[in-house]
């Protein structure tokens, strides 16, 4: 087995046994990147000297690829936008300092949809990322570079962010394990904000155990992010001991299965996953999430609204792109933003500004927040009956480049991941099969209640053990 094929747990164990050093791992990843990433394009930049220096300074550490919106001191942080080309981070995000404290180092910056807005990484302003399982298909998004790097064995593990499915959907498309933590479980300090009531940072990995190890490193209170409570962080890896489906109550939301656009192969793989859980001793319980049909509408009001406010900071004044054509401050704002942002970001800023504007706020943003409460209550009610929900992660497997050119069609690809994001609960994507026709990977999603990551990871591990496919193998 090549070093770049290793997961987190194997890498830590190999280092502990003295089989190789952190520097060996980084060198192996650099070689792998140089030979294989030309066609995949997972990395936007890779500061080899920086990664090698960190590895020499921390000889027992494991390198992690970082989505290019998480600040690492002295490194670029472009958010895949021309707006931030040339930007150099002045400090480490809390997740980066947490990773370092736990024996990991950041190595390489991976591609994404610009400012995390998209579901295919086609919205990157700086590069194309292809699915390692079929180069004519997208890796998913917005954490498409993270998923392609893990699925393509171009890294040991990676960090992504998830606002409406941006870890889980690409994990499904690229055959990785992905975890979206509960809202508040992981600090966002130093992570470029998209929609602040939804954003979370989480791992994309080659196994559930790896995700558990990274979740332990990432999670916890941060005085610089007021949404993170002082709640203790379990030893998620230890919690996986004896993980089993026996007696686990798995909820199947009927609203998730009579959906137009659910690909028959994804449905077949999901049905088979449900059957495997049942055969392994889980109790399958039908539940209802009656407000599911409104989740997409709520999300495409709330997320752009919050984005329009968050992205107001990109005005050409203190950092980021500044137009050379400005004659006064007003035109400096308008022209810098026009030149710096790509089309999807502009579309969402306009959408968000519109729904927040005078006369429309109550009908859109205000009302969406109330419907969000009803969506949250659906989940609360379901979790009184079951331990976890199981659903498809996305209605399709990875689609071809350019296939979803209409924005609304692209948005609807997130229908399975958005409701749980709105509810603030935790969810994972775990490899479950390959489509018979296109031979593309498909993951299933498990959803647990808020701050129930230990349970989520146990159930995900129990599923991984019975799943016919393993993450990131056979590339």
């Amino acid at each position: 087995m090549e070093l770049y094929e290793l997961g987190v747990k194997q890498a830590l164990s190999g280092i502990a046994k003295g089989e190789f050093t952190s520097e060996d791992l980084v060198k192996a990843i650099i070689d792998r990147k140089n030979s294989a990433d030309g066609e995949i394009g997972a990395y936007l930049t890779f500061d080899e000297e920086h990664a090698l220096r960190l590895a020499r300074e921390n000889p027992t550490s494991v390198p992690i690829a970082i989505k290019d919106l998480i600040n690492v001191s002295g490194q670029p942080c472009t958010c895949a936008s021309k707006m931030l080309e040339g930007y150099v981070s002045p400090y480490d995000a809390t997740v980066i300092s947490n990773l370092k404290a736990a024996g990991f180092i950041p190595a390489g910056r991976v591609n994404m949809d610009e400012f995390a807005m998209g579901s295919s990484t086609e919205n990157s302003g700086l590069g194309v990322t292809r699915n390692p399982y079929d180069l004519s298909r997208v890796p998913g998004g917005s954490s498409g570079g993270s998923a392609a790097a893990v699925g393509g064995n171009l890294c040991i593990a990676s960090l992504g962010t998830d606002t409406g499915g941006s870890i889980r959907q690409p994990a499904s498309f690229c055959n990785c394990v992905g975890v979206k933590p509960s809202y508040g479980r992981v600090s966002r300090f130093g992570v470029t904000a998209f929609a602040s009531s939804l954003d979370q940072v989480g791992p994309l990995t080659k196994s559930v155990e790896d995700a558990a190890i990274l979740m332990k490193a990432l999670a916890g209170h941060d005085e610089r992010d007021g949404t993170t409570p002082r709640e203790s962080v379990p030893d998620y890896l230890a919690e996986l001991q004896g993980a089993s489906m026996k007696g686990v109550k798995i909820g199947i939301a009927k609203e998730y299965f009579n959906v137009a656009g659910l690909d028959p192969e994804v449905k077949r793989i999901t049905d088979s996953a449900i059957k495997m859980c049942e055969d392994a001793g889980a109790e399958i319980v039908e539940v209802s999430l009656p407000h599911t049909e409104y989740a997409m509408a709520v999300y495409y009001i709330i997320a752009p609204a919050e984005a329009s406010a968050n992205l107001a900071r990109f005005d050409g004044v203190r950092y980021g792109h500044r137009s050379e054509k400005a004659v006064d401050v007003f035109s400096l704002y308008c022209k810098s933003r026009a030149e710096g942002f790509g089309p999807e970001v502009k579309r969402r800023i306009i959408m968000g500004t519109y729904v927040l504007s005078s006369g429309y706020y109550d009908a859109y943003y205000g009302r969406a927040q109330k419907v969000r409460t009803l969506i949250k209550r659906d989940f609360d009610e379901a979790f009184t009956k079951v331990d976890a929900l199981l659903s498809p992660c996305a209605p399709t497997s990875a689609f071809a480049f350019g296939e979803k050119h209409d924005p609304l069609t692209m948005y609807l690809n997130d229908l399975y991941t958005i409701p749980s994001s709105l509810a603030g609960v935790c969810a994972s994507s775990v490899p479950a099969g390959f489509t018979a026709d296109t031979k593309m990977p498909v993951g299933v999603q498990f959803i647990c209640g808020g701050f129930e990551e230990a349970k989520l990871l146990r159930i995900s591990k129990a599923f991984e053990d019975i799943s016919p496919v393993k993450a990131a193998r056979g590339i």
């Binding site: 509408a297 709520v298 495409y300 203190r318 792109h321 401050v329 308008c334 409460t373 949250k376 808020g450």
Partner: protein, 96 residues
């Protein structure tokens, strides 16, 4: 639903080309047409959910900590003069 894209773009401090205005006009009308769906829901007496998790008074200790050094804060400035960000003239009649 008719959206005044030019006006909204001005609110957003975003200059759009004529092509972008036309494209966004039809796309946004589709998207807004879709999200109108929430008007069907009875939200009488339902409180808004403003955050992903209820948090009350998340204060940190009021103590002096370190802050970003001036050079680090200015390092990404598109234009600077001394320890300041340099901008075009803002106030009419003032010296720039």
């Amino acid at each position: 639903m008719k959206i005044d894209v030019a006006y909204v773009a001005e609110l957003a401090r975003l200059e759009l080309s004529e092509d972008e205005k036309n494209l966004f006009q039809s796309q946004l009308e589709d998207i807004v047409g879709y999200v109108e769906k929430i008007s069907e829901v009875d939200v009488e007496g339902i409180p808004p959910m403003m955050h992903g998790r209820e948090t009350v008074n998340a204060f940190r200790e009021d103590k002096v900590g370190s802050s970003l050094p001036v050079e680090a804060a200015l390092a990404n400035a598109p234009k600077r003069v001394g320890d300041e960000f340099l901008l075009p003239k803002i106030v009419e009649g003032a010296e720039s």
